[in-house]
Amino acid sequence: MKRITFIYLAAIAMIFSMLSCDDELDIEQKGAISLEEYYGSDESAEGAVTAIYGELRGMMYNYKFLKNICSDDIWAGGADRGDNNDLEKMNEFTFSAEHAFLSGCFQSYYRIIYNANIVMKYIEPDTDVKKQMIAEAKVFRAFAYIDLISMWGTPPLVDHPLDPSEYQMANGDPAALWALVETDLTQAIASGSLMEKSGVNDNSVYRVTKQFARTLLGKAYLYQGKNSESAAAFESVINSNLYALYEGEYDDIFAFTNKNNCESMFEVNRVVDANNVWDNFDFWHLMIHFRTDRFTTKPVTALGLADLGWGFCLPQKDLYNAFVAEEGENGYRLNRTLKTYEQIQEMGASIDAGKTIIAEGYFFWKTRITKDAVPAAGSNFTWDHNINLMRYADVLLMAAEANLLAGNQSKADTYLNMVRARARLGNKTASMEAIKTERRLELCFEDVRYQDLIRWGDAESFLSDQGNEYPVMASNGTISYRPTGNSTGKYGFQDRNYLFPFPSTEIQLNKSIVQNPGW
C-alpha cells in the first residue's frame, strides 16, 4: 500500500514539474518591430534624421521670434497695441516662465535631442549612410545644446533616451554640457561622413555640412571664450573656399529666388509645391510682412510685395540711427536693409488715411516677401521662403572677433573688412567696438543680436528701458510715443534676463530642476 501511495505522489510531482511554461509567455507583438530591429537599415537611419529636420522646420515660428524679439533692433509691431501679447511681453521684458515661445522652443530643442539620441543609441555606423546620419544627429544635438546653454544656462544634460526613472532630471553642469557639444561636433567633423559642397556655387546641398558643423564648433568655443580654438575652427571654414559673401545686390541675399546661395551656411528648406502648399506654410514670414490691411488704397503690392501680412517686428529708430552713423543716410547697405516710411511712400505705398500702425517710421526691406514667393494655390497665406539659420557674413564676423580676442589682429582686420567691403564701406581696424557695430548692422533681425548683447555684457545698457513706451505711426508718418502701461521697474532688461526662465511646464513636471535665479 505504501508503494502505491508513492506512485501516486510521483505522478502528482510529474504533473507539477511539467508546468515550467515561462517560454510560452514570450509572445511577439504583431505589426510592430523593436527599435533595435527597425533601425537596422539605411532608410530607417535617414528617416530618423529626417525627423530632426522636420522638428527644426516645425519650430521656426517660436525660434525666430524668441531669438529676435528681445533685441533692440525691433518693436513688437502689429496694427494696434495688444495685437500680439506674446511679442509685446517679450519685447518689453514683461514675460514670465509661461511664455509660449520659451516653452515651444525648449520642447523643440529637447525633441531634437531625443531624436538625435535615438539615432545614436540604435544606429550602428556600419554603412556610409548610417555614418552620415549619426554625424548629422551629433551636429543637431550640439546645435540644440548651444542654444539651450546660451539661453538657459543649465539645461538638463540628456545624452540618451530617458527611462521613466530618469524623467525628473536636475540641471546640467555647463562644463559638462559644453564638453558634450564639443565632443559631438568634433566627432561629427572627424567622421568624414558629413556632406560638403562641391564648390562655392553649389546650391544643391540641403543637409548640414561639415563646414556648418565647424562654424557651430567655432561658435561654441567663442561663447566659452576659447578664442584660439574658435578662430581655428572658423579658419578652416573660410579656407575651405566653399562659401563666399553674396556679390549680387545686398537685399537679394534672402530673396525667394536665391535659396541656398553661396552665403548660406544652412537653410531650413521649403519648396514650391502647388499640390501641398500647406505642408510648406510659413507663419513666421506672414507675421513679419507689411501690415497690408493698413495699405489698401496704396497697397504694398505696388512695391512688388505679397499682398498679405500682419506687420510685426518693425525696426527701431535706434537701429536706423546706428546705420546712419556708420554709413550715412544713403548708405548702400542701409538702403537695402531698411526703408523709411518716406522711401516707402515714394515707391508708391502708403498707409490709409486715418490708420495707424505700431512702428517708428522704418520697415525691413531685406526680409521683405515678394509676390513671387506666394504660390497661386496658397490663397496668399503660404510662402515657400527658406529660413536662413546662418550666413557666411556671420561666420566672418565671428572669425574676426575670435581672432581679435586671440591676438590675431591682421586676420581680424581681414575678415571684418571683407564684410564691410561688400557693404561698400571702407576698411577699418578691427576692434570689439567695430565688430559689435558691424555685427549689429550686417546681421540685424538675423537671430544674433540679443545673444550678442548678453554675451558681451551690453544688454543692460541697451535694453533696460525697453518696454516703457511704444511708437505709433500715423498715415502721414508722424510718430507718437505712448506708455505701454507696464508698471515701473517691471519692464526692461534686468539681472535675471541674462538667462531665460525654464518653462513653467517643465518646472511643474520636473521636481528636480531648479529655476534660474530671479524667475
Binding site: 502528482i12 507583438q29 522638428e55 513636471l509
Partner: protein
C-alpha cells in the same frame, strides 16, 4: 416500480424516457414501506425535507404536510433526514414501519461552507470579507445575467447599468471604482476564469461568493484587484433523483415615462422662443395631432423562459443536467430588440476508487441578440422618443401625408434617391415638417439598418482528485472555452430628413472565435493535532488564450447600391457588385498566456484563534509587461478571533451564539490598461522634409512613444476589519465590515512626463485612488408554527477619492455632451468621474436668462467658472428582502436603492427646436411670469444652462424589485398526479420606483467614465410574471 415514476399521460415523451433511464439507474427493488412525519422543533410540518436510505440513492422528499412514505430494501439499516438549515439526522430503522422525526434548526452557518478559491472554508472560520448570493436569490426572478442577482442582495457591491435592453450586461464594481481604467471583477466559474458570465443561466447557479477584501482575493493575485466573483454551479443532490421544470411568462412594459410637452405646449414654447413660425404650424398641423412618442414606440412585450433539470446522486457520484430557453422580446415595437438564449449544463462527478474522484462541469450557451440605439445625444432611438415634436404622427399613408413627405416621395419615384421607409402596408414613417435633427422618427431608426449578433460558448472544467493519504487531496483541473461570435448587418438607403439620409447600401459582417485553456494543479492538506488545525495548499496555474477573427464591409454608391438587387435576399457579400467599396480587417490571431504559483496556509487553535496567509505569484505574457517586471507577487494575511468561544462569553451563549472579530490585509493587482504591449513603442511618421528644390519629400520617423520598460501592475492594497455575530439562537445574524482600499500606480496614458524627455510618454504608473466604506448585512429568521419568515437587509457606504494623478495632468476628461467636452472628470481630491459644469444661480427676473455663479468674480462666465456639481457614485446602496411562508403560500418582497448619487441629465439639445421635459418648460420665465424658475423660451446661454447644476438631479432611488406570491399545491392533490412539488406564482418586478429623477430610470444611466450621465438609456421595464415550478 415506484409510484414516483409511474408514467402519466401528461408527461412528455422526453421526460418519460429520461425518468425511466434515471430510475433504472438509481433504484433497485424494495421490500418494505416506512412512513412518517417530519416536523420542526415547534411541531410544524416540514415539506420538502429529504429522506434517504443511508448510504444509497433511495429516497424521497416529504410532501406539503411533512409526510413521507418510502419503500426500503430489506437490508437497509437506517434513514437519513435532512433539510436546508436543519441538522441532519440518521435514524436506525430496526423493525419500525413508522419513523417520525423532529429536525432541529442548525446554528446558522456553523457548518455552512463558502467557496474561497481553490477550496472551501467553513463560514465560521472565514477571516476575510466574503459575501454570498445563494440560489434562492436567483430563482423565479426575471434576471438573465447572474450579475443582476448581486444588486441589492449583498453589501459592498455596486451594480451600474448603462442599458436595460434585452441581453445587456450591467457593470459591477466591488467596493467602489478602483481605477481610471474600466475594469470588471474577476469571474471564476467552478475554478475556470471567465471573461464574461453573461451566458450562465442564473437558475443553474448554486452560489456566488464575492471575495471583497484583498486578503481573500489575493489567491487570484494580479487579476483580483477589482474583486473576485466565484460562481459555483449546481450539483446533483445526494439521495433521490429529481426532475424539475420551471416556466416563466413575463409581460413587460415601460415603467416611468418622462413628461414632455404636448403639441400645444410645444408650439407655445417654440413660438415664444422665436424659433417657430406660426405659418408653418398652420400649414402642417391639423390642430389635433398630439403624438405621445414614448407610448407609440414602446409596447408591452413578452419574455418567456423554460428551464428543465435532472439531478441525483449517491455517495459515489452525482449528476446535474439542465437545459434552458430564454426568449425576450424587448419593449420597442416590433422585434428590433430581442435576446434569445439557449443554455445547457452538464455537471457530474464520480468516485472511481476511494482515492480517486473524477468530475466535470460544462456550460453550453447559444445566443442571438438585436438591439436599438440608445445612450447618445445623436441618433439614439430611445432619446428621440423624448425629443420629437408631437404634432407629427408616427406614420402617414400616401393619401394623408404632408407636403414635405409627398415631395420626397415624388423625388424618390423620379430619381430613385431618398427612399421613405414604410411598414410594408402602405404606412410611411413620418418625416417631421417641424424638426430636423439627428434624432428622427424611431421607426426609421429601427428599420434603416438591421444588425444582429449571435454566438456560442462551450466551456467547462474537468478534474481529477487524488486522495493518496489521509488529509491530502491533489487536484488536476483542466478548464476550457470554445467560443465563437458573429455579427451581420446592413444599412439601407433611406430618407429621414435633410440631415439624416443615406443614398447607398452598406453591408457588414464579422466572425470571431476564441479558445481558452487553463490548467491548474494544486495539493491541499488538512490535518488536526488535538486543538491545532492546519490547512495548507500550494498550486500552479497555466492559461493560454487564442482569438481570431475577421470582419468586413461593403458599401455601394452606384445605382444598384453595390448590390445586385435591392432585396434582403441579396444583402450578402457574395452578391455585391465588383464596384462596391470593400474593407476587411482582422485576420491576425491574438495569443495570450499566463503562469501562476499560489499557496495558502491556514491555522487555527480550537477554531477560536484563526490565522491565514495567502500568496500568489503571477506572470502574464509579453503583451502585458516586459520580462523584467513580469512577475508580480501578491500577499494577503488575515486573523480572526472567535470571542464567543472564550469562557467569559459561554454564559451568554443563548443570546450571543457566535461572535467573531476578524481583520485582514492584502495586495492585489489589476490588468487595467495592460495587455496590448502598452510598454513597448512602435515607429510613427513625423512630418516630412524636402532635401532638394523639388517638391519631393522625405518622411521622418521616430518612436511613437518613449516606451516604458518599468511599467508595472496597478496595485490594490486593502485593509479590512469585520465582525460576524449570531444572536438569539441564531435567529439574528449580523456581519459588519470596514474597509480601506487604496489603488496605487494607476496606469495613465498620453501624458507628457517632462519636456526634456523629448517624446510623448508610454503609459506610466501615475495615479492613486482610494475607496473606504462600511458594510452591514443583517438577517432575522424565525418561525411560528406554520408561519416562517425571513428578513435580510444590507447597506453599504462608499467614499471614493482620487488621491493622486501625474503632475502633467490637471485632470483626465471623461465623457462630453454635444459640444461641451469633459462633463465628467477624474481629478485629485474628487470622486472618480465627478460632474463638472456651471453652477446655476437662478433666473434673471428682468430678462428671463439663466444666471450662473461667477466663481472667480471676473464678471465673465466661461470655463473657469465651472465647478464640481455632483457625482454618479452613490454614498449608500442598500437592499432588503422579506420572505414569508404559511402553509402552501409564500411571499417575497425585495427592494433595493441608492442614495447620494446624482444624475447628469443630457436629455436636452439647444441647437434644434426639440421637445423637452415639461420640468424645464413649466413655470418658465415669461413677461407675465417674471418669477418663473426656468429660463425663458429661447433664453440666452441655454447651452450653459443645460450643462449646469440645473440639469443635475438627485439620483437616489428606491425600487421594489420584486413582489412575489407563490402557492404550493397541497400534497394530497399532488400525490394523485405523482408530483413532488407544484408551485404557482405571480410576481411584479421593477414595478414601483421612488425617485426625484425626471428622466426614464434612475437605475439605468451611463457607466464607466459617464457614470450617472443619462443620454436616454434603455429603461428597465416593469414586469408582471406568471410562473410555475414543478418537480417530480
Amino acid at each position: 416500480m415506484l409510484h414516483l415514476v409511474r408514467p402519466r399521460r401528461f408527461l412528455s415523451k422526453m421526460l418519460l424516457i429520461s425518468l425511466l433511464l434515471i430510475s433504472s439507474l438509481a433504484f433497485s427493488q424494495a421490500d418494505r414501506i416506512i412512513s412518517g412525519l417530519v416536523t420542526d422543533e415547534s411541531g410544524g410540518p416540514l415539506p420538502g425535507a429529504t429522506v434517504v436510505v443511508t448510504g444509497t440513492s433511495l429516497g424521497i422528499t416529504t410532501n406539503i404536510d411533512g409526510e413521507y412514505s418510502l419503500k426500503v430494501p430489506d437490508n437497509a439499516e437506517s434513514l437519513t433526514f435532512s433539510f436546508v438549515g436543519m441538522k441532519m439526522q440518521e435514524i436506525p430503522i430496526g423493525d419500525k414501519s413508522e419513523i417520525n422525526v423532529v429536525l432541529e434548526v442548525e446554528t446558522i452557518g456553523l457548518e455552512e461552507v463558502v467557496a474561497i478559491g481553490y477550496g472551501v472554508q467553513k463560514k465560521s472560520s472565514v477571516t476575510g470579507a466574503i459575501s454570498q448570493v445563494k440560489s434562492e436569490d436567483m430563482e423565479n426572478r426575471t434576471i438573465t445575467n447572474p450579475l443582476q442577482a448581486i444588486a441589492g442582495k449583498t453589501a459592498g457591491t455596486q451594480v451600474y447599468s448603462g442599458s436595460a435592453a434585452p441581453g445587456s450586461s450591467p457593470t459591477i464594481r466591488i467596493r467602489g471604482i478602483n481605477s481610471n481604467n474600466s475594469i470588471s471583477p474577476l469571474y471564476v466559474v467552478d475554478g475556470r476564469i471567465a471573461s464574461s458570465i453573461a451566458g450562465i443561466e442564473p437558475n443553474d447557479i448554486e452560489s456566488m461568493e464575492i471575495l471583497k477584501d484583498a486578503a481573500s482575493a489575493a489567491i487570484y493575485g494580479a487579476q483580483a484587484g477589482n474583486g473576485v466573483i466565484l460562481i459555483t454551479t449546481k450539483k446533483g443532490k445526494m439521495g433521490i433523483g429529481s426532475i424539475s421544470y420551471d416556466y416563466q411568462f413575463t409581460s413587460q412594459s415601460i415603467g416611468r415615462t418622462p413628461k414632455v410637452m404636448n403639441s400645444e405646449q410645444f408650439i407655445d414654447y417654440w413660438t415664444e422662443a422665436g424659433k417657430f413660425n406660426m405659418d408653418r404650424v398652420y400649414q402642417y398641423w391639423d390642430f389635433q395631432q398630439n403624438t405621445d412618442w414614448v407610448n407609440e414606440i414602446f409596447e408591452s412585450s413578452i419574455m418567456q423562459r423554460h428551464n428543465i433539470s435532472f439531478q441525483g446522486g449517491n455517495e459515489k457520484g452525482s449528476y446535474y443536467l439542465s437545459g434552458s430557453m430564454l426568449d425576450n422580446d424587448g419593449m420597442v415595437v416590433g422585434d428590433a430588440d430581442v435576446y434569445k438564449r439557449y443554455t445547457g449544463m452538464i455537471n457530474t462527478n464520480y468516485h472511481i476508487k476511494p482515492w480517486l474522484e473524477v468530475g466535470t462541469n460544462n456550460q453550453i450557451e447559444y445566443y442571438e441578440r438585436r438591439a436599438v440605439s440608445e445612450g447618445s445625444e445623436y441618433g439614439s432611438l430611445i432619446l428621440s422618443t423624448l425629443q420629437l415634436d408631437p404634432m407629427t404622427a408616427v406614420t402617414y399613408t400616401e393619401e394623408n401625408m404632408p407636403d414635405n413627405m409627398a415631395t420626397v416621395l415624388a423625388r424618390y419615384r423620379a430619381t430613385g434617391v431618398g427612399e421613405l421607409l414604410n411598414d410594408g402596408k402602405g404606412n410611411y414613417y413620418s418625416v417631421s415638417p417641424f424638426l430636423t435633427s439627428e434624432n428622427l422618427n424611431p421607426l426609421i431608426m429601427r428599420d434603416n439598418s438591421y444588425s444582429t449578433s449571435s454566438g456560442f460558448n462551450i466551456n467547462g472544467t474537468a478534474y481529477v482528485n487524488f486522495k493518496p493519504i489521509k488529509g491530502l487531496v491533489a487536484t488536476s483541473r483542466l478548464s476550457y472555452l470554445l467560443g465563437a461570435s458573429e455579427s451581420y448587418g446592413y444599412g439601407q438607403d433611406y430618407y429621414a430628413n435633410s440631415m439624416s439620409y443615406q443614398n447607398y447600401m452598406s453591408l457588414n459582417a464579422s466572425s470571431y472565435n476564441n479558445t481558452r485553456i487553463q490548467w491548474e494543479n494544486f495539493v491541499t492538506y488538512n490535518r488536526s493535532f488535538e486543538q491545532h488545525n492546519l490547512t495548507a495548499m500550494v498550486g500552479t496555474s497555466f492559461t493560454k488564450i487564442r482569438s481570431f477573427g475577421v470582419s468586413g464591409s461593403k458599401t455601394g454608391t452606384d445605382d444598384d447600391f453595390g448590390i445586385q438587387r435591392d432585396d434582403p435576399r441579396y444583402y450578402y457579400f457574395a452578391y455585391a457588385t465588383s464596384e462596391a467599396i470593400k474593407d476587411v480587417s482582422g485576420g491576425e490571431p491574438t495569443q495570450r498566456a499566463q503562469n501562476a504559483y499560489f499557496g495558502r496556509l491556514g491555522y487555527n487553535f480550537s477554531e477560536k484563534y484563526l490565522a491565514e496567509f495567502v500568496m500568489r505569484a503571477d506572470a502574464f505574457d509579453s503583451a502585458f509587461l516586459p520580462l523584467s517586471n513580469r512577475w508580480g507577487y501578491f500577499p494577503g494575511g488575515s486573523l480572526g478571533w472567535v470571542i464567543s468561544k472564550e469562557s467569559f462569553l459561554q454564559n451568554s451563549s443563548s443570546v450571543v451564539n457566535f461572535l467573531k472579530l476578524r481583520a485582514s490585509w492584502g495586495q492585489n493587482g489589476s490588468l487595467a490598461g495592460l495587455g496590448s504591449y502598452a510598454y513597448l513603442t512602435s515607429i510613427t511618421s513625423t512630418g516630412s522634409y524636402p532635401f532638394s528644390s523639388q517638391p519631393v519629400y522625405s518622411i521622418g520617423y521616430k518612436p511613437s512613444t518613449t516606451g516604458n520598460e518599468e511599467l508595472k501592475w496597478e496595485t490594490n492594497q486593502q485593509t479590512n476589519i469585520g465582525l460576524d455575530a449570531w444572536f438569539l439562537n441564531s435567529r439574528l445574524t449580523l456581519t459588519f465590515d470596514y474597509f480601506n482600499k487604496k489603488t496605487k500606480d494607476l496606469i495613465v496614458t498620453g501624458i507628457t512626463p517632462s519636456t526634456i524627455v523629448g517624446n510623448t510618454a508610454s503609459p506610466i504608473n501615475a495615479g492613486n485612488i482610494q475607496n473606504t466604506g462600511l458594510e452591514l448585512e443583517l438577517g432575522w429568521k424565525d418561525m411560528k408554527g406554520n408561519f416562517k419568515y425571513d428578513v435580510r437587509g444590507n447597506i453599504s457606504t462608499i467614499k471614493n477619492k482620487v488621491t493622486n494623478i501625474h503632475e502633467s495632468l490637471d485632470y483626465i476628461a471623461g465623457t462630453g455632451f454635444h459640444t461641451t467636452s469633459g462633463i465628467t472628470r477624474f481629478e485629485v481630491g474628487k470622486p472618480a468621474w465627478y460632474f463638472y459644469g456651471y453652477e446655476f444661480q437662478g433666473i434673471d427676473a428682468a430678462t428671463g436668462d439663466p444666471v450662473f455663479v461667477d466663481q472667480n468674480s471676473d464678471e465673465i462666465i466661461n470655463d473657469d467658472d465651472k465647478v464640481d456639481l455632483g457625482k454618479g457614485i452613490p454614498d449608500i446602496t442598500y437592499g432588503i428582502t422579506l420572505s414569508a411562508a404559511y402553509k402552501g403560500f409564500d411571499v417575497i418582497v425585495f427592494g433595493q436603492g441608492s442614495k447620494g448619487n446624482d444624475i447628469y441629465s443630457c436629455l436636452n439639445r439647444t441647437d434644434y427646436a426639440v421637445n423637452s421635459l415639461t420640468y424645464y418648460t413649466e413655470d418658465r420665465w415669461k413677461a407675465d411670469n417674471p418669477n418663473g424658475i426656468r429660463p425663458r423660451a429661447g433664453a440666452n446661454d441655454l447651452d450653459k444652462y443645460y450643462t449646469s447644476s440645473a440639469v443635475i438631479f438627485d439620483g437616489s432611488y428606491f425600487k421594489i424589485k420584486q413582489i412575489q406570491l407563490g402557492y404550493m399545491l397541497p400534497a394530497s392533490l399532488l400525490d394523485k398526479v405523482s408530483l413532488n412539488k407544484l408551485r404557482l406564482y405571480v410576481s411584479l418586478e421593477d414595478y414601483f420606483t421612488f425617485t426625484r429623477y425626471k428622466g426614464f430610470d434612475p437605475e439605468v444611466t451611463g457607466v464607466g467614465s459617464s457614470l450617472g450621465v443619462d443620454k436616454g438609456s434603455y429603461p428597465t421595464s416593469k414586469k408582471i410574471i406568471f410562473g410555475v415550478n414543478v418537480s417530480f
